[in-house]
C-alpha cells in the first residue's frame, strides 16, 4: 500500500479547525477590540490605540463574495504551480462579523460561472500544493450550499 502523504499547513498558525469547522485565526486587540488578519502581535494598528496585547481569535467562517478572478497564466515563484499549469480562481471575501476582506483561492470544483458578487461563501481547508512527502493545506472559499 502506498504511503499516505501527511497533511501540513502551508503556513503555521494562520488557520485551525474546531467542532464547528475550519476558520482563520486572527488577533484581537485587548484594548480597542480591533481585529487583524494575519494576526498582529507587535502593536495595534488602530492609530488611536497603543495596545500591545492581543488575543488569538477564530474569525468568521462565512462571508460575502466581494469579487473574484480566474487566472490563465502561470505566476512566477514562489507560487507552487502544478505542472502543467492549471487555471485557478482567487476570491475576495468580506467576513461576516469582522468587516474585513480576505483573499483566497476558491475550492476545487468551483467554476467561475458559479460565482456572483454578494453571494454567501464559506471557508474550507484544501491542498494548495504537494511534494513527495506532504500535502500543503491552505484556506479556500466555497459558495455556501443553498
Amino acid at each position: 500500500m502506498a504511503a499516505v502523504k501527511q497533511r501540513v499547513p502551508a503556513i503555521e498558525g494562520w488557520f485551525d479547525t474546531d467542532a464547528t469547522g475550519p476558520h482563520l485565526l486572527g488577533s484581537r486587540c485587548t484594548q480597542c477590540g480591533s481585529y487583524f488578519f494575519p494576526a498582529e502581535s507587535m502593536y495595534c494598528r488602530n492609530p488611536h490605540c497603543a495596545g500591545t496585547e492581543f488575543d488569538t481569535v477564530p474569525l468568521s467562517r462565512t462571508g460575502t463574495l466581494w469579487s473574484f478572478t480566474e487566472h490563465f497564466y502561470q505566476p512566477p515563484e514562489p507560487y507552487m504551480s502544478p505542472d502543467p499549469f492549471e487555471p485557478y480562481t482567487v476570491a475576495a471575501v468580506e467576513l461576516a462579523d469582522e468587516k474585513m476582506v480576505v483573499l483566497g483561492q476558491v475550492a476545487a470544483g468551483v467554476a467561475h460561472s458559479d460565482l456572483k458578487a454578494g453571494m454567501p461563501v464559506e471557508l474550507v481547508l484544501e491542498t494548495l500544493y504537494e511534494d513527495d512527502a506532504s500535502e500543503y493545506i491552505v484556506w479556500k472559499w466555497k459558495p455556501l450550499a443553498a
Binding site: A10, R45, T69, Y73, P75, S81, V90, L103, G104
Partner: protein, 395 residues
C-alpha cells in the same frame, strides 16, 4: 508668488524595452529637462532621485547615481522610494527644499530598466512579507488585484468588457503621435477583445506592460522661474498621503484588509483621499481641471480613477467614457499621453512622466495631443504599501 514652486523644465527618454543601463536613459531625460529649462547641470542645487529596486545598489541611491553620472558638483541629494509613487515623492522632497528656502533649483529624476512579464518579488523565502506570501499562498499576482476591481465594476455598475476595451482603444489613439510612447498603434475593439484572457475579466491588451524609461523635472522657486521664462507652470499641489485606518479596500500586495468592526471606515476611501488632498492644497476642484493623467495599470482601473479624482460619482465612469468626455476633444480628456496603455510602466519614472505630459499640455506644446486652452491638470497614481501620489499643475 512668494512660496510657490514652478516646473521650469521637463524631459523624457522614450519608453521601450532594450535592457540597457537605466543610468543611460536617465542622463538623456536630465539633459533634456535642463535644456528645456535653459539651465546647466551645475546650476542644480538639489538632486532628488526616484529609486529603482531592480538595478542593485546604484538604483537604491538613484539620486547620487545620477549626480555622479552627470558629474559630481557638490549638490545636495536625496533618494525616495514609494513604488509607483516614487516620482511624486521625489518631487515632494525637492519642492519642500525650495519652499524652505534651502535651494532655488532642483532636479527630480526617475529611470528604470525592467525584467519581462509579471512583476515578481525578490528571490528568497520571506514568510513575514505579504508581497512574498501573496504569491505563495494563493497566486495573487498584480493583475489579480486589477481584475478583482474590474469584476467589481461589472457586478456593481454594469461595466462591460467593451467598456474596458474602449479605454485601451481611446488611449492608443491618444498615444499614436507621442514620440515617447513605447506602443504607437491604434488598437481596434476587436483586437483588444480577442487578446488572450489573463485574469478574468482582463485581457492581455488591457493590462499594462513593464518598460524601460526615464523622466526628469526641473523645479525652481517661482521667483527664479520668472527670471527664466514668461510662462512658468506652477506646482499647485503634491499629495503623498497614506491611507486612514481602517482601509477596507483590498490593496496590492496584501491579502486581507483592515477590519471596520471596531473603528468606522473613514468618510472617503484611500484612493479618493489622494486627489482630495491635492485639490485641497491647490484650492481647486475637479471642475477646474482641463485634463488628467491617471494610472491605467489596467484599462478598468482608469474608470475607477475617474471616480477617485472626482470627475463623476461612483458608478458613472462608464458613462463618462461612453459619452466621449475623457477622449481628446471631450470635456475632460484623460491620459492624452496615451497612458500606461501606450507606455507600459517604468516604476520610478512614471509619476514624473505624468507631470511631463501635463507641463507640455499647459504650455501648448503637446502637438496633435493638445487639449485646447489647457490651464490646469491633475495626475493620480498610487504606490504599493500605502503611497498616495497626486500632482496638480496650473498656469
Amino acid at each position: 508668488m512668494a512660496n510657490e514652486v514652478a516646473v521650469l523644465g521637463v524631459g523624457m527618454h522614450p519608453w521601450g524595452k532594450w535592457g540597457r543601463n537605466f543610468v543611460e536613459y536617465g542622463i538623456k531625460a536630465c539633459n533634456d529637462a535642463l535644456a528645456d529649462a535653459g539651465l546647466r547641470w551645475t546650476d542644480v542645487q538639489f538632486v532628488s532621485g526616484a529609486e529603482t529596486v531592480r538595478n542593485g545598489y546604484p538604483g537604491y541611491v538613484a539620486g547620487a547615481t545620477f549626480a555622479q553620472a552627470l558629474g559630481w558638483s557638490g549638490a545636495r541629494v536625496a533618494t525616495s522610494y514609494a513604488a509607483c509613487a516614487s516620482g511624486a515623492t521625489g518631487m515632494n522632497a525637492a519642492r519642500a527644499q525650495i519652499l524652505a528656502g534651502l535651494c532655488d533649483v532642483a532636479l527630480v529624476i526617475g529611470a528604470d530598466t525592467t525584467p519581462k512579464g509579471f512583476l515578481a518579488p525578490n528571490a528568497g523565502e520571506r514568510w513575514d512579507d505579504p508581497d512574498w506570501l501573496r504569491f505563495r499562498l494563493m497566486g495573487a499576482t498584480n493583475p489579480t488585484y486589477f481584475a478583482l476591481y474590474a469584476r467589481r465594476r461589472m457586478e456593481l455598475f454594469g461595466a462591460t468588457e467593451e467598456d474596458f476595451a474602449a479605454v485601451k482603444v481611446k488611449n492608443s489613439r491618444h498615444g499614436l503621435t507621442n514620440e515617447n510612447a513605447r506602443y504607437q498603434k491604434a488598437f481596434s475593439m476587436d483586437e483588444v477583445l480577442n487578446s488572450p484572457m489573463v485574469a478574468d475579466p482582463l485581457r492581455l491588451f488591457e493590462i499594462c506592460a513593464t518598460s524601460d524609461g526615464a523622466a526628469a523635472v526641473v523645479l525652481t522657486s517661482m521667483e527664479f522661474a520668472r527670471k527664466h521664462t514668461t510662462d512658468p507652470i506652477k506646482v499647485a499641489a503634491i499629495s503623498t498621503v497614506t491611507p486612514r485606518y481602517p482601509n477596507t479596500v483590498i490593496e496590492m500586495p496584501n491579502f486581507a484588509t483592515d477590519s471596520a468592526h471596531s473603528v468606522a471606515v473613514p468618510d472617503i476611501s484611500f484612493r479618493d483621499s489622494i486627489a482630495a488632498a491635492a485639490y485641497e492644497e491647490a484650492g481647486l476642484g475637479p471642475e477646474d481641471m482641463s485634463l488628467a493623467e491617471v494610472y491605467d495599470l489596467s484599462s478598468a482601473l482608469e474608470l475607477d480613477w475617474y471616480e477617485n479624482i472626482g470627475l463623476c460619482k461612483p458608478g458613472e465612469a462608464e458613462r463618462l467614457l461612453r459619452d466621449g468626455a475623457t477622449t481628446l476633444g471631450g470635456r475632460i480628456p484623460v491620459n492624452t499621453s496615451g497612458g500606461l496603455a501606450c507606455f507600459g510602466e517604468a516604476v520610478p519614472a512614471q509619476a514624473l512622466a505624468q507631470v511631463c505630459e501635463l507641463t507640455w499640455q499647459l504650455r501648448g506644446q503637446a502637438g496633435e495631443r493638445q487639449v485646447a486652452g489647457a490651464h490646469a491638470g491633475i495626475t493620480a497614481n498610487q504606490g504599493l504599501f500605502g503611497h498616495g501620489s497626486s500632482v496638480i499643475v496650473s498656469r
